[in-house]
C-alpha cells in the first residue's frame, strides 16, 4: 500500500472514530432528555391522580370537575393506587401489573421512585392524605419519545456516513496534492542513470521537508560523485605508478641487450634494475596495505612499546641504507616516564606508517643524519623526526598528505605519493596526531603526538 493510500485510510479511520464518539454522545444525551421529560409527565399525572382520587373532599365541586376533565384526558398511561399501610392495591386498572412489596417500601422511603420494565416507564409516588397514606403508580410507554429517538438515530447514521464519505474523498484530494512533489521527485531520481553522477535534483524553492530531502539527496550525490572520481583517479594513478618503474626496467634491459656491454655497464644496469624493482615493490606493498586498511579489522589494538617499533624500523633502515645515520635522543621528561612509551595501537600498521615517515626523512635528508627526538607535548609523548633536506614549501604543506601527490621539486627522488597518505590514514586510525614544521635553515620535522 502506498504512503498516500495509507494516509487516506488512516485519516478516515481517525475521523470515523471521532465522529462515532460525537454521534453516540449526542444520541445518549438526547435519549436521556426524552426519558427525563417523560418522567416529568408521569409525575404530573401522578399528582393529578392524587388530587382526583384523594382530595375530592377537600376541593370544591368546580375545581374537582376541572381536575376530573384533565384526568379523563389521560390516555395510554395506567394509574394504580395502593394503600401504603397494608401495601395492597386499592384502585387497579386494566394493566396486568401488581407492584411488589419492594417497590412500595422503596417509594415510602424515597417519596418518588422511578424504574423501567422493558419499554415501560414507571413512576411511583408516596402521598400522605387525611384518609391514610397512599402510593400512586403511574406507568406508560413513551411512544412519541421512542419515535423521535429512532428518527435521530437515522439522521445521525445518514449524516455520519455522508461525513465519512466526504472525509474520504477530501483526504484523497489532499493526499494527492501533498504527494505530488514526491511523485515528481521519484520521477527525477529514476531518471538519474549510473553514469551521470553529476545530475542534481531541482529545488522547488519552498524550503519545506521536500526541499530538505532534495538538499540531502544532492549532497549524497555529490559525495558519491567525488568518491567515484577518487576511485577513477586512484586506478589511473596507481597503474601509472606501477607502469613507470616497469617501463624503466624493460627499457633498461632491452637497450642493454642490443649489444655486448662491459662489466661496469652491466653492474650499473643491475643497480638500476634493483632500484626500480624496489620502487615497484614499495608501490605494490603500499597499495596492498591501503586496500587492507579498508577491509581488515584495523581496530585490533594492543599495548605496544613505540620505542621498540622505532628501533625495529631503524634496524631495517640500516640494511636498506647502510650509509645513513639516525640520531635518537630522549628528552628528560620521557626518560623518567617509561610508561609513556607504551601505547594502544595496531603494531603492524603503526610500523608501516612510522617506517614511511622515517624512510622519507632518510631519502630527503641529503645524506645528513636524521634526528629522532622523543619528547613531551603537554602530557603526551611526541616523537619528532627531522631531516636536513630542502624542506617543504609552505604552499605544498596542505598537499603532502594527499594520495599520489608528489612535490614537483622532488622529482629526482624516488617516490610514489602513497607513503605519507597511508601514514596519515594509519595515524588517524590509531589516535596519533601528525604535524609538520619547517626546520631552520632548511629541512622538515614531522612530529607524532600519541594521544
Amino acid at each position: 500500500m502506498s504512503l498516500k493510500r495509507k494516509l487516506v485510510y488512516r485519516s478516515t479511520l481517525v475521523f470515523f472514530a471521532c465522529i462515532s464518539f460525537v454521534l453516540i454522545g449526542t444520541y445518549l444525551l438526547f435519549h436521556y432528555s426524552i426519558e427525563e421529560s417523560y418522567r416529568k409527565k408521569l409525575h404530573g399525572i401522578a399528582k393529578l391522580a392524587a388530587y382526583f382520587y384523594l382530595e375530592k373532599d377537600e376541593l370544591n365541586a368546580t375545581k374537582h370537575k376541572r381536575i376530573e376533565r384533565e384526568f379523563k384526558k389521560i390516555s395510554g398511561e395506567s394509574v394504580q393506587l395502593y394503600n401504603a399501610n397494608s401495601k395492597t392495591i386499592y384502585i387497579a386498572d386494566s394493566l396486568p401489573y401488581i407492584a411488589s412489596n419492594e417497590v412500595l417500601s422503596k417509594t415510602i422511603e424515597e417519596g418518588v421512585y422511578t424504574f423501567k420494565q422493558d419499554q415501560r416507564q414507571f413512576l411511583s409516588m408516596f402521598y400522605e392524605d387525611n384518609e391514610g397514606d397512599f402510593i400512586i403508580i403511574v406507568s406508560g410507554e413513551d411512544m412519541e419519545g421512542e419515535k423521535r429517538a429512532l428518527l435521530l438515530v437515522h439522521m445521525l447514521l445518514i449524516f455520519g456516513s455522508l461525513g465519512i464519505a466526504m472525509q474520504f474523498i477530501l483526504s484523497n484530494i489532499l493526499a494527492n496534492k501533498t504527494f505530488k512533489p514526491f511523485k515528481n521527485l521519484v520521477k527525477q531520481v529514476n531518471s538519474i542513470k549510473g553514469n551521470d553522477l553529476d545530475a542534481r535534483l531541482k529545488f522547488r524553492g519552498k524550503d519545506d521537508e521536500i526541499d530538505q530531502l532534495v538538499n540531502e539527496f544532492n549532497y549524497l550525490l555529490e559525495r558519491i560523485e567525488s568518491s567515484a572520481m577518487i576511485q577513477r583517479n586512484f586506478l589511473r594513478n596507481a597503474s601509472h605508478e606501477i607502469k613507470t618503474p616497469l617501463a624503466i626496467i624493460l627499457g633498461d634491459i632491452e637497450v642493454a641487450l642490443h649489444s655486448a656491454r662491459s662489466n661496469e655497464e652491466y653492474q650499473a644496469l643491475l643497480q638500476s634494475l634493483k632500484t626500480n624493482s624496489l620502487h615497484l615493490k614499495s608501490v605494490v606493498e603500499s597499495l596492498i596495505t591501503l586496500s587492507n586498511l579498508e577491509v581488515t579489522n584495523t581496530k585490533l589494538m594492543n599495548e605496544i612499546r613505540i620505542d621498540e617499533v622505532m628501533w625495529e624500523i631503524l634496524e631495517k633502515k640500516k640494511i636498506e641504507y647502510p650509509d645513513c645515520t639516525a640520531i635518537v635522543h630522549f628528552h628528560p621528561g620521557v626518560e623518567m616516564q617509561e610508561g609513556l612509551l607504551t601505547i594502544q595501537a595496531n603494531k603492524h600498521l603503526v610500523f608501516i606508517a612510522m617506517n614511511n615517515i622515517i624512510d622519507n626523512a632518510i631519502k630527503f635528508s641529503n645524506a645528513q643524519p636524521v634526528k629522532i627526538t622523543l619528547g613531551l607535548k603537554g602530557e603526551h609523548l611526541c616523537i619528532s623526526i627531522s631531516d636536513e633536506g630542502i624542506g617543504i614549501p609552505g604552499d605544498e604543506l596542505q598537499n603532502i598528505f594527499k594520495l599520489f601527490y608528489r612535490s614537483p621539486q622532488n622529482s629526482h627522488i624516488p617516490g610514489h605519493g602513497i607513503g605519507l597518505y597511508l601514514a596519515k590514514q594509519i595515524f588517524d586510525l590509531n589516535n596519533i596526531q601528525i604535524d609538520i614544521q619547517p626546520v631552520q635553515p632548511h629541512g622538515t620535522t614531522f612530529s607524532l603526538v600519541f594521544q
Partner: protein
Amino acid sequence: MSNILLIEDDPRVASFISKGLQEKAFQVNAVANGMNGIDEALAFPYEIIILDIMLPDMSGFEVCKILRRRKNISPIIILSALDSPDEKVEGLQAGADDYLSKPFLFDELLARIQAQLRRVEFNKGIVEVQSYGGVVINTDEQNATRDGQALALSPLEYRLLLYLMRNREKALSRIQIGQSVWNTSFDTNTNTVDVYINFLRKKIDKGFDQPLIHTIKGTGYMFKMKQYES
C-alpha cells in the same frame, strides 16, 4: 661455514636464494617440498632452515610444527608472499624464529640469518651467565626474573640485560653497550644508552636492597653484585 636448508618449491626463488647465500659462503641444500624438507632437517643438523609457507604437499606451518615436535631446534626463518600480521603470528606460534614476507631484500634475509646464527652462538656462550645476583634469564622464553619476581622487560631491555649479564663485573662504555645491543648505526652523542639503562634499573634494582647496575663516572656502567667503590 654454516649449513642452510632451503625448503622452497618455486625454482626461481630457490635459485637466487641459493646462489646468493653460496656467494656469502653458506652451504645451501634446497628441497622443493615439505616431506623432503622434514626428512632432510631430521637427518642432518642444519644451522638455519629457510621455509616457504605455500608448499605443494603441506603448509610451512605444518612443517614447522612437525620439526619442533620431533625436537629439531634449528632456527627457522619463514618466507611468505602474504604479509598479514595474523600469518606472522601463526608462523611464530608454530615454532618459527623469524618471518620475512616476499618480496624481500636479499640483504635483509642475510641480516636475519646472521642474527639467528648470532643468537645460537650467544645462547651457547651464556649458559654460565644465565643466573647472577638473583637475576635469572630464560633464553628460551626471552624473559627474566630477579629473586623469583618476573621482570616485565621490552625486547630491547631484555637484550641489554643479557649483554650486561654476559659482561658482568666489567666496566662498559656507552659506545660498547650501544654498538653491541643496538643493531642500528649507533650515534655516540645521544643519551639512548642512559635512557635504557635507566629503564632497566627501574625494573631490576628498584625495590631491591642490592643494586646491580652501577654508574662509573666518565666511563659508563658496570653490572656487579657488590657496591662499586670509586
